[in-house]
Amino acid sequence: MTHSILPLTLDGAIARVRGKTLVGPVDLQIGETGLTIVMGPNGSGKTTLLRLMHGLQRVSGGRVEWAVPDGMARGRQSYVFQSPIMMRRKVVDNIAYPLILHGVPRRQARSTAAEWAARFGLGDALDRPAPYLSGGEKQKLALARALIRQPEILFLDEPCANLDGRAIREIETILQQAQADGTRIVMATHDMGQARRLATDVVFMYGGKVHETAPAPDFFKQPTTAEARAFINGDIVE
Amino acid sequence: TTSFQNSGLSDVLLPQIKKDIGLDVQLIVVGTGQALKLGEAGDVDAILVHSRKAEEAFLKAGFGTHRREIMYNDFILIGPSSDPAQISEADTAVTALQKIAAAKAPFVSRGDDSGTHKKELSLWQAAGLDPATFGSWYRAAGAGMGATLNVASGMDAYVMADRASWLNFGNKGDLKLMFAGDPVLFNQYAFIPVNPQRHPHVKTALVAQLEDWLTGETAARLINGYKINGETLFTFNATKP
């Protein structure tokens, strides 16, 4: 492999929309290995932070920098959105699309896509129009489509929100496998159990700021801030 | 008829009419065929056209009260300045057309059943020729005078037009007046009031006023005196009843 795109460095990064600061300033580094879980109450800025890192949200202040030039870093990331975006095509064509973008011949892309679909339990749905899938199936599709690119870093925004217990376990296995294979993962979730199972380190967002960062075991055992403590207990965070 | 307006004569007459008899004449400019139709339907109070046969049919069917000749102008033959058919040397309109046919020089016809078109057809007939048998040099444009002149100018073709339209035409290109003056080319304009018995809403009194004016002294002076580039366009020939 060529030079890694990591670490990713955020230095006073700010996301501002029409004069309103949604997130920041954020100082943060995403190192070369690990699985970072982003937690925090609704509207605290998790999604915005992930988008900022991925380059979907314009940086209004400060810097967001990869270890390689931006142009090189762009193609080596994947992102799974909080509400999955389905192209108005068949399931198999949705999953194959990133490959086709990379110039893989259509037939080959389709058959690879079929394999990935099967891994995510969508083997039966290949020829169905993607917009008609059930909520959970859409999430699975989005995951398959993100992983088929074999990215160096994978951003996941609550990817298991609509999944059943078994699917969650299976996908966690896939993610852990990917992590073992060298994929860096940054994931937002509200599922405390999932966070405990997967996280190597935690970023706790609160009011649009990074309120606390810590290795996972420390965070869950002994959060330093009162807000994180309250959040872990499901208490009212004020 | 279009030539009345294209010539610019209407711009001279209408203000004077307004001044003299206080009448606001609303001029609707369409081809002769359409003008006759408007008259039949009673959508206008009077028509000014130039196609004798059609006019007579119109009167015979009872759509108009009477026909009053007002003035005439003349048709001319126009062609590219190189004059490939040499019609400028012809002595009658008929020979000029025969020369064009013989040379198979491009000729654009109105092709729209207008007064001008009918005149052209009658001339071909007089020349012993039938346009239906002509080759692709004879183009029926199916359009008004202005549009037909535009086509002729674009194709460098011969075309027959009324003098007024030609003098006022701004897109002459390479075209020049090639032949004129044969008396068969005279073009009589007539005024026909719409019959109030058929269309009671027609403003008969006003129409009569207008007719009087059009056949009167002032009109005669204005029509005969109307010139473009020093050329007289229309000759007043209304007779006192």
Binding site: - | T2, Q5, N6, L14, Q26, L27, I28, V29, V30, E40, A41, G42, D43, G144, M145, G146, A147, L149, N150, S153, N168, F169, G170, N171, K172, H199, H201
Partner: protein, 234 residues
């Protein structure tokens, strides 16, 4: 080409010196077209929405016919309106022929199918988004139509502007039912046609530029009023 420059200069000189004749023509063009667009929108927009939310037997055919009516040749519409309004026609008694009203009627007929078709297309996407919610809220037909039209208003602007464009540039029908009568029913397009017939291309083109300038101004105005481009979603 110098001709054209000259014609344009002439035309704009007329505008800037506020030539009363030209202003009258421009004013009438605007009056007729704006009125026609408003009336056609009042019919076309709800019709477009209605076709989206209702499923009936010949829906597909109806939409195809509506789309086809976008192709109504203006001359035919002009003729039709002429025959309706002519003294010997059914509405002859109103004496509307050769008045601006007749021109408005013709334009409404021409642009209503266009506005309805485009708004139908626009609203379809919005309906796909809102369908479940509006059905679940037990809305009446009329409530659905108003919600779709209201929330889609910025996108519907394109439909109205397309209608405006078609109407302001239209000449065939206007000529037949309006008659291009000086100081009464002469508008920009019929003036252009008249000058073209006289072979005064330069002046005709000049008037054309005036017309396009007018259209651009109005479009910019509408866009900035509705701030269509400010928000990316709405």
């Amino acid at each position: 080409m110098n001709d054209i420059a000259q014609g344009t200069i002439d035309a704009f000189r007329l505008i800037f010196t506020l030539d009363p004749d030209l202003l009258e023509v421009v004013g009438l063009s605007l009056r007729v077209t704006v009125t026609a667009v408003l009336i056609a929108s009042l019919i076309g927009l709800p019709l477009g929405a209605w076709l989206v939310i209702n499923r009936f037997r010949f829906r597909r055919q109806t939409i195809a016919v509506l789309n086809a009516l976008m192709g109504l040749p203006p001359v035919v519409v002009g003729l039709f309106v002429y025959m309706m309004l002519s003294r010997s026609g059914p509405f002859g008694v109103f004496g509307l022929l050769f008045t601006p009203t007749a021109m408005i009627i013709a334009q409404v007929i021409i642009i209503t199918p266009l506005i309805a078709s485009i708004s139908h297309q626009t609203i379809r996407d919005l309906w796909a988004e809102y369908h479940d919610l509006l059905i679940s809220l037990n809305t009446s037909r009329w409530q659905r139509i108003t919600a779709l039209l209201w929330d889609g208003r910025r996108a519907l602007l394109t439909a109205m502007l397309a209608g405006f464009g078609r109407a302001i540039g239209e000449v065939g029908a206007i000529m037949i039912v309006g008659g291009n009568i000086d100081h009464s029913t002469r508008v920009l397009t019929t003036s252009i046609a008249l000058e073209t017939g006289k072979g005064n291309f330069a002046f005709a083109m000049g008037l054309g530029f005036v017309l396009i300038t007018l259209a651009v101004t109005i479009n910019l105005l509408m866009h900035s009023l509705s701030r269509t481009e400010r928000a990316s979603v709405w």
